[in-house]
Amino acid sequence: MFSHFRTMWLVFLHLFRKKVTIQYPEEKVQLHPRYKGRIVLTKDPDGGERCVGCYLCSAACPVDCIALQATQDENGRRYPEFFRINFSRCIFCGFCEDACPTYAIQLIPDFEMGEYKRQDLVFEKEDLLINSQGKYPGYNFYKVAGMDAGVKQKGHGANEELPVDVHSLLP
């Protein structure tokens, strides 16, 4: 019986505690830098698209909300012809970000993307592409890749040796 009164008194004292409620539209939630929100496509330091159209994000997506078509430019650089994310399906799990080999697709701390029409939640490439390097500044896939896609010549990349002339016998 006494413990019941003690419980009631302690619960009553909660009246004077600080409330945890955040008055949302007026007060904003503190989002952390790695919060998994809206998905964006980032660019490399030279302003080119990082996405190489490998389809790994699309394959990793558990709800199949990513659709893309890869293509190549005249230099052999791969890029997505279209890149479409249906945010009405997306569950913001971040698997696409984990799967991406070129740090192109990233989740950013923004969740305020309500729309009045469902069709407006389907984001095309121009909606997704941002003019920023996102969480990995300075990274340029074609600078460290072995191939020549118009960014650098073969053998001139970081940690890359010049190609060996296989017809020469000199060491």
Partner: protein, 319 residues
Amino acid sequence: MSTAQHIWTVIGVLFVLLNIAAGLIWVERRLLALWQDRLGPNRAGPLGLLIVLADTLKLFFKEDWIPPFASKAIFVVAPAIVAGTVLISFVIIPFAPNIVVADLNIGLLFFLAMSSIGVYSIVLGGWASNNKYSLLGALRGASQMIAYEVFMGLSLMGVVMLSGSFNLGAIVEAQRDLWFVVTQPVGFLVFFIAGVAETHRLPFDIPEAESELIAGFHAEYSGMKFGMFFIGEYLGITLISAMTVTLFFGGWLGPSFLPPLVWFILKTFFFIGVFILLRASLPRPRYDQLIEYGWKVLLPLVLANLMITGAVALYLKDS
């Protein structure tokens, strides 16, 4: 009192009570939220008060649905019984020296009788729903009410002995020197616990028990029929609070810087707050624990209280 005055009293009491019952939706949600470190509904209107209007409108516009397997007539009548009996119980409560609807000389017995009839709404509602969970809730409700009805009545007999009357006005007058909570603390505690069980509020909401019986006896109800159960519950809280104040805390008596009616309302709202605090703090006991607690602890306690009060009253009368 003249007839016109009578009619105005009835209308006034009805108006105030129904508004209080609706307003308690907001009071309860806000208070519960504050005690759980939240803010609660604060958007619609000033301080969120219009949530009451929104809730009521929502209930009114819901489809008034009767399940095809239910027993229709009883299903419809059941929610009206609970609200009706509780409202009728209010006629005997003296809100202020001259504001009472019916000054019955057996007022207390009338109150006990009406709260007993209130059980029928639970039993009939659960039975007519033709649903296993509802029936279980109805069964629990019936046995809980019978158990707690017994010593609810007995716990009040001490008050009746001390004041020598069943009339609530006379009981209030008898407390002019000393509130009965001082002379009858056991009676007060037992009455309040029984009152919580009688209104089947948490922690004694065994007939509803959301987590076990998915709302129990009113699982099949929706729309304004559910709303009637809801109003009945809030009116019940108000009734038990008002009765506690009348019987043990001196009713409308109080220092004269406030009018009697204000004292009565203040005290009543204090006990409504206690009801909500009980809900916020105590967990629900198991069903057999509840019944065992009633018959094995509270009943002997209240009988002992009755005997001692009677002995003391006799001794004081002789000397």
